[in-house]
Symmetry: C2
Subunit: 142 residues, 2 copies
Amino acid sequence: MSPSSVGGSWTPSSAVPEGVALMSDEDLVAAMDFGKDADGLVPAVVQDVVDGTVLTVAYMDAEALRRTLESGRTWFYSRSRREYWQKGETSGDRQYVREVRMDCDGDALVVLVDQHGRGACHTGERTCFYRTLGTGPGVPAP
Amino acid sequence: MSPSSVGGSWTPSSAVPEGVALMSDEDLVAAMDFGKDADGLVPAVVQDVVDGTVLTVAYMDAEALRRTLESGRTWFYSRSRREYWQKGETSGDRQYVREVRMDCDGDALVVLVDQHGRGACHTGERTCFYRTLGTGPGVPAP
């Protein structure tokens, strides 16, 4: 039976959960400073809520942030394609949002997510930051 | 006895360790794409190596990255002041670098650090991302 022949609502064959709208603090949302960048964008650091891995850095404007808060899934703005995109919409590797944090001067975001699918990177890696260009011993804090 | 009267090398009264130059992969350094941004900058996500907290997002160009790799401490470029600055040089809240990672398309960095002093934020908070503007249940990965 094809989906179109079903009388009730259509359910896709590979059902995926919807996102859940976030509870948001509108005063803080309004305090974001998108104007510092000519394109109205701020970097959004997407971090795995389970183990803290930084998965990717993408960009949001006020509209992408609003869509993220309302859908409970990550929306970004592509600087190269000049369009909004929702993570996982084509790949299936969705990011469900647990928390959005803003920095002290309102020009950067951290987005804590449940990462579904293979991961965040279009290469198939879990994180976009899979290459190390420098290592050192550091100096452990006293 | 004042420092200037000591015959040997002068040791500051509150001695702080020097940074240690990183071992770097020059092919990867050369693969960074600083040209995508008009000012030649990429966002650098500074993450606490101990617990994974995202401490701050700042900006590096090729020169700031080079200084970071050579000094073992974080150097950034200030978009507003249009100058290089080394984290902790005035505050004392230094960041000693353990690892620098680049993303898939070479236009973002993650810098894992030993954070010394009070923390990374000029407000006195440990992380610049101390405010939460949205929370939700997420959807735990299957």
